[in-house]
């Protein structure tokens, strides 16, 4: 992958794209949800996926880490093809962090164990070291006081920050956010968005499915507008959001802004 051919020379550098999606199709039963998506995300780039519900943006996100494997098409993370036969999907997923709309914390264990469980089972890190890493991440996200709380005893915003800490503890190369603030009470949204902004500023490669157009305008390097299972328009955040080219995006923005 790192060898550039003459006809297909990389545009910017010789380092592979953080994420490269080629011709992604996804069908459920007989319904085609993604109808051929190509998307390349550069290292440290922040891409926001916007679009009406049912446009396929969440499905596309879950294709990236094979939570919902594409029906056809190929996915490369840092030049490694996940869709190649024999590729280790578990290993690939451990390098791609994901944050869910409904947090999906493990309710039967405390906050600390939520963060350490994958460190221990996937990375086989000894307990003490795993807990040190976990505490460090939790402290970074302002959750030191809640290390031994159960998820159910935390606010939605705190729960989502635990979920972010849990993903970050695995030291991912890419972070995926699936409507991370949609299930939060309005007054808790800002805190989580701030965490995501700081993460973006720290150079994390991020793909963010969001309805927060303000966040997209401010934080995203690029905005991708999806409609009907394909990319309808994409470009630099400011350009796309302030001067949309397609009628469909104009209409969408007029409804959400």
């Amino acid at each position: 992958m790192t060898v550039a051919t003459e006809t297909d020379a990389p545009v910017h550098t010789s380092t592979p794209a953080a994420i490269e999606l080629r011709g992604i199709h996804k069908s459920f039963e007989h319904r085609e949800v993604l109808t051929g998506v190509d998307l390349t995300v550069a290292p440290q780039e922040v891409v926001c996926l916007i679009g009406p519900s049912g446009s396929g943006k969440s499905t596309l996100l879950k294709c990236i880490n094979l939570l919902q494997p594409p029906t056809s098409g190929s996915i490369l993370i840092n030049g490694e093809e996940l869709t190649a036969p024999g590729a280790d999907a578990n290993l690939a997923r451990s390098r791609v962090g994901m944050v869910f709309q409904h947090f999906n914390l493990f309710p039967h264990v405390d906050v600390l164990a939520n963060v350490t469980v994958a460190l221990r089972t996937v990375k086989r890190i000894p307990k003490a070291e795993a807990e040190r890493i976990a505490r460090q991440q939790l402290e970074r996200l302002g959750l030191s006081a809640h290390v031994h709380s159960r998820p159910a005893d935390l606010s939605g915003g705190q729960q989502q920050r635990v979920a972010i800490a849990r993903a970050l503890a695995m030291d991912p190369q890419v972070m995926l956010f699936d409507e991370a603030t949609s299930a939060l009470d309005p007054e808790l949204v800002k805190g989580v968005l701030n965490v995501m902004r700081e993460l973006a500023e720290s150079g994390m490669t991020m793909v963010v499915v969001t309805h927060e157009i303000g966040f997209a305008r401010e934080v995203a390097d690029r905005v991708v507008f999806m409609d009907g299972g394909r990319i309808a328009e994409e470009g630099p955040a400011r350009e796309v959001l302030t001067a949309p080219r397609t009628d469909r995006l104009k209409e969408f923005l007029s409804q959400v802004l």
Binding site: K62, N65, L67, N90, L91, A92, R93, S94, R95, V96, G97, M98, F100, Q101, H102, F103, N104, L105, F106, P107, H108, V117, A118, T121, V122, R150, P151, A152, D153, G156, Q159, A163, R166, A167, M170, A183
Partner: protein, 244 residues
């Protein structure tokens, strides 16, 4: 009326059999029931994980097992295992019937435990599997660390209920012919009754069963109530699913 009381509630008859019931009977009943329940739990959990698998060569055999052992009368299964196996020359537990008795009750218990575990596993929100997998954990790792522990918690009362049934079903092993020292409650009482033609020993054994099963029944009820009312806030994911 005198005859009635004499037949069922003869205090002397009861006192005569009581020491044997308490020292030998309860002990062996519990040995059979507890061992069978534990073995049944292990096999049942394995079957449940097989049943929720998408792989046909795992879920179909498990399904058949559960259907067969839930569908057969317990006494028939116990006869097949306890009388049939040794007769066929398969004697992993030697000549003592206790091992076969435990195995037979465990095989039945496993079928019911499997269904209980399966419903528990399937009651766990799907987002839990997604979260585990998104962290790089394998399907089995996520099952073991995330899904099964949550699923079991929801079905603890149902499993205890099954243990009560195991205690009662352990009485059926009397038909395997137990020798002194390995007799359980019912066998002792039954022996006494066939000698004296007086049922008071059976009543005494019955009281011993109730001594074990009734407190357990109340434990189950209390536990169930506590799990329902004391349950922490339902997870946001489930609320989300209902709204969406």
């Amino acid at each position: 009326m005198d005859a009635f009381f004499h037949t069922f509630f003869d205090v002397n008859q009861m006192l005569a059999v009581l020491p044997t019931l308490l020292t030998e009977g309860i002990k062996n009943t519990l040995i059979i029931a507890v061992s069978a329940a534990l073995l049944g739990l292990v096999i049942g959990l394995l079957l449940a994980v097989m049943m929720v698998s998408r792989l046909w060569f795992l879920n179909i055999p498990a399904r058949i097992y559960v259907d067969v052992f839930r569908g057969l009368p317990a006494i028939l299964t116990i006869s097949l295992v306890g009388l049939g196996l040794p007769a066929a020359g398969i004697r992993p537990f030697g000549s003592s019937p206790i091992g076969y008795a435990i195995l037979a009750v465990a095989l039945i218990s496993a079928a019911y435990c499997a269904e209980v575990f399966r419903s528990g596993i399937q009651s766990v929100d799907q987002g839990q599997m997604q979260a585990g997998r998104s962290l790089g954990m394998s399907y089995l790792q996520t099952m073991r660390k995330i899904i099964v522990p949550q699923g079991i918690r929801n079905v603890l009362p149902a499993l205890t209920n099954r243990f009560i049934i195991d205690i009662k079903e352990s009485s059926l092993v009397y038909l395997l012919g137990l020798t002194v020292g390995e007799r359980e409650l019912y066998f002792i009482a039954h022996q006494q009754q066939s000698i004296t033609y007086n049922s008071s020993a059976l009543v005494a054994a019955g009281l011993c069963y109730l001594l074990m099963t009734v407190p357990l029944t109340y434990l189950v009820n209390w536990w169930d109530r506590r799990l329902r009312s004391g349950r922490r806030r339902p997870s946001a994911a489930r609320i989300g699913l209902m709204e969406g």
